[in-house]
């Protein structure tokens, strides 16, 4: 799937595309966590680092809304099905992790891993759903 094929009308510049914003958000989250762990910054700096991924997530939402508005009806259907698949998959993963935890398998995963995992599931389900209509 090429980026240009996804939009029927206006094609967003790369920096306004949700895929770019998703990468930016993952980088912001990973970067903020790494800096806090490695440098142990002051309380004020930690606050800034804590808000940084939120700003990146807000940017992602903005690009998503703009992107969906440029899509035609089939592309919107593909995105809706992809989101449904991704969220269903995420719920299955959460249930599986929960039972693994109860069974004594303590995986080193936290809430900061949830959004990147959801993004990966969304990307995979988009590829699958797009292929269904080709």
């Amino acid at each position: 799937m090429r980026l240009g094929e996804m939009c029927a009308g206006e094609r967003p510049a790369l920096w306004r595309h949700p895929y770019f914003a998703m990468v930016l958000m993952i980088a912001a989250m990973a970067g903020a966590v790494a800096v806090v762990r490695a440098l142990e910054p002051s309380r004020g700096a930690r606050l800034g680092l804590g808000v940084l991924p939120v700003a990146a997530a807000a940017y992602l939402l903005w690009t998503m809304v703009r992107w969906v508005r440029t899509m035609d009806e089939l592309q919107r259907k593909i995105q809706a099905e992809s989101l449904a698949l991704a969220y269903s998959g995420a719920i299955l993963v959460v249930i599986a992790l929960s039972y693994l935890h109860k069974a004594g398998f303590h995986l080193p995963l936290g809430w900061e891993d949830a959004l990147p995992a959801l993004a990966a599931l969304y990307a995979l389900s988009t590829l699958y759903t797009t292929a269904r209509y080709q």
Partner: protein
């Protein structure tokens, strides 16, 4: 739903991209309609009919159209 989109497009020597541009949709959508993997909405079906200068039922038919009319 079955349709004659590919035949009508071929009669006019339009590419999928050209038809997509006329309809204001993506080439992927035109392809999905032609291969009958996706049924267009009523507004898009009207746009398609207007583009070809035909009535909707001259382009789109329900799957069991011939059996229904017998």
């Amino acid at each position: 739903m079955i349709n004659r989109l590919r035949v009508l497009r071929a009669e006019r020597s339009w590419s999928q991209a050209e038809l997509a541009e006329r309809l204001g949709v993506s080439r992927q959508t035109v392809n999905a309609i032609e291969t009958e993997k996706y049924d267009p909405s009523l507004p898009l079906a009207f746009r398609i009919a207007r583009t070809f200068g035909l009535a909707i039922e001259e382009i789109f038919q329900p799957d069991g159209a011939s059996a229904d009319t017998d």
